[in-house]
């Protein structure tokens, strides 16, 4: 039998809970500092409004040449970026939503490029234009979606388990979301709708992981009634450890392949999922159960 975690493994997670809390605290703090320094998440055009044009040149060209062409076409403030994740010769051109006339912008960009480069040497592959009003709309919708999704999951947990478990789950998912947003901020990744979808998936995945552990706790509680709560938690986390790691690894494996081969459009999306699933797996082992323990020590449940 091939085993990652040998049966009877007894890692004392609960005793080391403060190490976990400290580590998570530091990671979250770094993320929050990065967010403050950057002045909040960097919103992509989905939420901030603006225009994004993906252009493919048959031969790679200098970014400065593209920028120059745009400037000659009176498109000041256009940012040009190589888009290597999608392939060679691919570039992203972005424009802020400040101009009221977004409608003709993609045409203007095309015309400006055609003046400098041969018309056959490039191809506009993608145009995304979001008006400022739509962006604002999406932002509030996104916040609602996140709040509703989290609330529904918590209601489900409180209903299936105990309230103290819900507390642990809340702490764990807040941890995962804060850490992931922090990492996105550190890596200068734009916050788009796709990223939001990734975050909600992470929340679902992390709770999924946490529930598997909680399920075991529920099963072990009556069996180990005489043992201290802390020991019972330790046994449980150890028992579920191989499943947690195995599932996490197989999911990560697929995501890593997707990250390297799935193309530029979903590059940031898969990266977010990878970060979130690493921390989600970690938090369901360390943070979720440890929080239940701290809560139990502070507010012991009378009848157990």
């Amino acid at each position: 039998m091939f085993e990652i975690i040998k049966p009877g493994t007894k890692i004392d997670f609960m005793k080391r809970k403060w190490i976990g809390f400290l580590f998570s605290g530091i990671v979250m703090l770094i993320g929050i500092i990065s967010l403050v320094v950057h002045g909040g998440p960097i919103y992509g055009i989905d939420f901030a409004g603006g225009t994004l044009v993906q252009v493919k040149f048959s031969q790679p060209v200098a970014i400065d040449a593209i920028r120059g062409a745009l400037q000659d076409g009176e498109l000041e403030g256009a940012s040009v970026q190589g888009f290597e994740a999608e392939g060679k010769g691919e570039y992203l051109i972005r424009l802020q939503a400040s101009s009221a006339d977004l409608e003709g912008l993609s045409t203007t960009i095309k015309a400006a490029l055609a003046k400098r480069f041969d018309e056959k040497s490039f191809e506009v592959r993608r145009v995304e234009m979001v008006g400022p009003k739509v962006g604002k709309d999406l932002r509030s919708k996104a916040i609602w979606a996140t709040v509703i999704a989290m609330a529904m999951m918590l209601i489900y947990i409180s209903f299936r388990f105990d309230f103290r478990f819900a507390v642990g789950a809340v702490v764990a998912i807040c941890h995962d979301v804060i850490v992931t947003i922090g990492v996105l901020s550190l890596l200068n990744i734009e916050f788009s709708i796709l990223i939001l979808a990734a975050l909600l998936t992470i929340v679902g995945y992390s709770i999924n992981d946490t529930i598997v552990v909680y399920d075991r706790i529920r099963e072990n509680l009556p069996k180990m009634r005489r043992e201290p709560f802390e020991k019972m938690l330790n046994v449980t986390v150890n028992e579920t450890l191989s499943r947690t790691i195995l599932t996490g690894m197989s999911t990560l494996m697929v995501l890593i392949v997707l990250f390297f081969m799935g193309g530029g459009v979903i590059h940031d999306f898969t990266l977010t999922l990878i970060v979130g699933i690493i921390f989600g797996t970690y938090s369901s082992v360390y943070i979720a159960s440890a929080t239940v323990l701290v809560w139990e020590n502070k507010f012991p449940k009378k009848k157990r």
């Binding site: 979808a197 998936t201 929340v203 399920d215 999911t251 799935g262 193309g263 999306f269």
Partner: protein
């Protein structure tokens, strides 16, 4: 086989055959001719990000429709008040959709009040104040009436856009209303997005007005615009350099005829093979046109679309017969598009683009290729890992895994026929499939880890199997519900690509529960029944 095994075998077989039938149309080029008689022929719908196409959100500026309606009522009211000898010194539309009228004296005001109540029941006095002898009254429209105008403006805009898109010729366009005043348009596989945008977004208000030839445009441009005139421009393109310049005209603001008079508009060619748009008019329109051309013979008549002058020919003689033409150095495409918008009619209010997402066909194909390649490689890695870790049982899990993708795709092909909303496979959707692969393993892992534990406790294979499945079942349920909750919320909220992700994730979870609980259990039970095994290879 025992009875229970037989039943399960039949269930699995039925599911597999059903799935194969639904998937068949997606993977073959041409269906046999008898196929549609018995079986569905829907393919898996591809999202715009995979097949290429344009997604547009327009806002109908319904307030403008209200304003132009109020403008008409104001003119009408002015004429009627004159007829009724209800004297006023001032009448105009103010604050967008209100009317201000200054009446001669309180007596007139009393007559005005009763007249208004009788003839304009949807109008009410908002404020009134005495200014010496005169009475200034502010009128406002009933809010229900305003809502009604807005609603009908949006309905009409939707209808007009449908007409235009139909005539433009796009396969399977999707045009629907969103929220209060937005229109969502999806045009899959469109080749010339800019042209389509132009065509859809045109308000297309056609007007015929006279050119005021007594005035020199340059004098008018200096600020000397005669009363009742406006300056409008004609765009002229130099055929050699392609440079565009605008020629100003002084135009009498009175509209002689509008696009309402049109019956049809067609592209025609002149003797030099240059395209122009030929208009034919309704009988009533034809009479009006004849009258206009008779009264104004020798003058120049400007043909104006959305405040741009297309041409301003001299009326040589009265035109009867109800035919007119618009010339203007068109390309064939421009002439065709102009004919389409004229036929489909004008929009009741201007529309504004709020959101545009266009994906070129080459990027879509790239995305499909990359997504499929990544999913296959990711899947192979998982399959290898499962065999390494669980050996024979891993092999069983892999059967479940492959079935998973098969069933997931079958449901994707089936759903568009069942659900009213568009269910399409998108690039994030492919990522969702890949992600479900990873997560589908979870159900098997939970079960197998349980079986291992039960075996360690010394249970025989049959008991270990039963205990493993029954204990893991609740955990699998509980843990999947939360992911489904996240996916369902995304489904409500997201745009196209995200919906695709939420859909594949949800289906993937449902399918993985079926394969992990029913299919693998069936295989283990068959093995248990037919071989005397002492230990599971797990």
């Amino acid at each position: 086989m025992t009875r229970s095994l037989q039943w399960r075998f039949l269930l699995i077989l039925a599911v597999l055959i059903g799935a194969a039938i639904f998937l068949y149309p997606t993977f073959v080029k041409e269906l046999p001719s008898w196929w549609p008689k018995f079986f569905p022929q829907d393919k898996i719908h591809l999202g715009l990000d995979l097949q290429g196409g344009m997604h547009l959100t327009f806002e109908v500026e319904a307030d403008k429709a209200v304003e132009s309606s109020v403008e008409g009522i104001k003119n009408d009211l002015g004429n009627n008040l004159k007829k009724e000898n209800i004297f006023y010194t001032y009448l105009d539309r103010v604050q967008g959709n209100k009317i201000e009228v200054v009446l001669l004296n309180p007596d007139v005001k009393a007559r005005f009040d009763s007249y208004l109540k009788e003839q304009y029941p949807s109008w009410k006095e908002a404020t009134s104040q005495r200014e010496g002898d005169r009475v200034k009254v502010l009128l406002e429209m009933d809010s229900r009436q305003i809502a009604e105008i807005k609603k009908s403006a949006i309905d009409q805009a939707l209808e007009t856009i449908r007409n235009r898109v139909d005539q433009f010729g796009v396969a399977e366009p999707d045009i629907s209303r969103q929220g209060e005043n937005m229109i969502l348009i999806q045009l899959p596989g469109i080749k010339d997005p800019e042209r389509a945008k132009e065509l859809i977004g045109k308000t297309a208000i056609l007007e015929f007005k006279l050119v005021d030839e007594e005035y020199d445009p340059s004098r008018a441009l200096a600020g000397n615009i005669p009363f009742g005139d406006v300056i409008l421009y004609q765009r002229v393109e130099d055929p050699k350099t392609g440079a565009v310049h605008k020629v100003p005209y002084v135009i009498k603001d009175k509209t002689l005829m509008t696009g309402d008079a049109l019956k049809d508009a067609r592209v025609k060619l002149d003797q030099n093979n240059r395209p122009f748009v030929g208009l034919s008019l309704h009988p009533a329109g034809a009479r009006l046109f004849e009258q206009v051309t008779t009264e104004n013979t020798g003058k120049r008549l400007a043909i104006i679309l959305d405040n741009n002058i297309y041409s301003a020919p001299v009326i040589r003689q009265p035109i009867s017969g109800g035919e007119a033409i618009i010339e203007g150095r068109f390309s064939m495409e421009e002439a065709r598009d102009l004919a389409i918008v004229l036929r489909a009619g004008s929009l009741p209010a201007p529309i504004k683009i709020l959101e545009e997402r266009t994906v070129g066909p080459s990027l879509g194909q790239d995305s499909i290729n990359k997504g499929i390649k990544a999913t296959i490689i990711g899947g192979l890695l998982v399959i290898i890992a499962m065999i390494l870790y669980y050996r024979m049982a891993g092999f069983v899990a892999n059967i479940a895994l492959i079935l998973n993708i098969f069933l997931l795709l079958a449901i994707m092909a089936m759903l568009p026929a069942v659900l009213p909303t568009t269910v399409a496979l998108t690039l994030p959707g492919i990522a969702g499939i890949a992600l479900t692969l990873g997560m589908a393993v979870d159900a098997n892992v939970l079960i197998y880890e349980r079986i291992r534990e039960e075996m360690r406790l010394g249970k025989p294979p049959g008991a270990a199997l039963a205990a493993g499945y029954s204990r893991a079942f609740l955990t699998i349920m509980d843990s999947n519900v939360t992911t489904v909750i996240a996916a369902l919320v995304l489904l409500q909220f997201g745009t196209g690509p995200i919906k695709g992700f939420a859909i594949t994730l949800t289906i993937g979870i449902a399918v993985s529960m079926f394969t992990a609980i029913v299919v693998t259990r069936f295989i283990f039970d068959v093995v248990l029944n037919n071989f005397r095994i002492k230990r599971w290879s797990i």
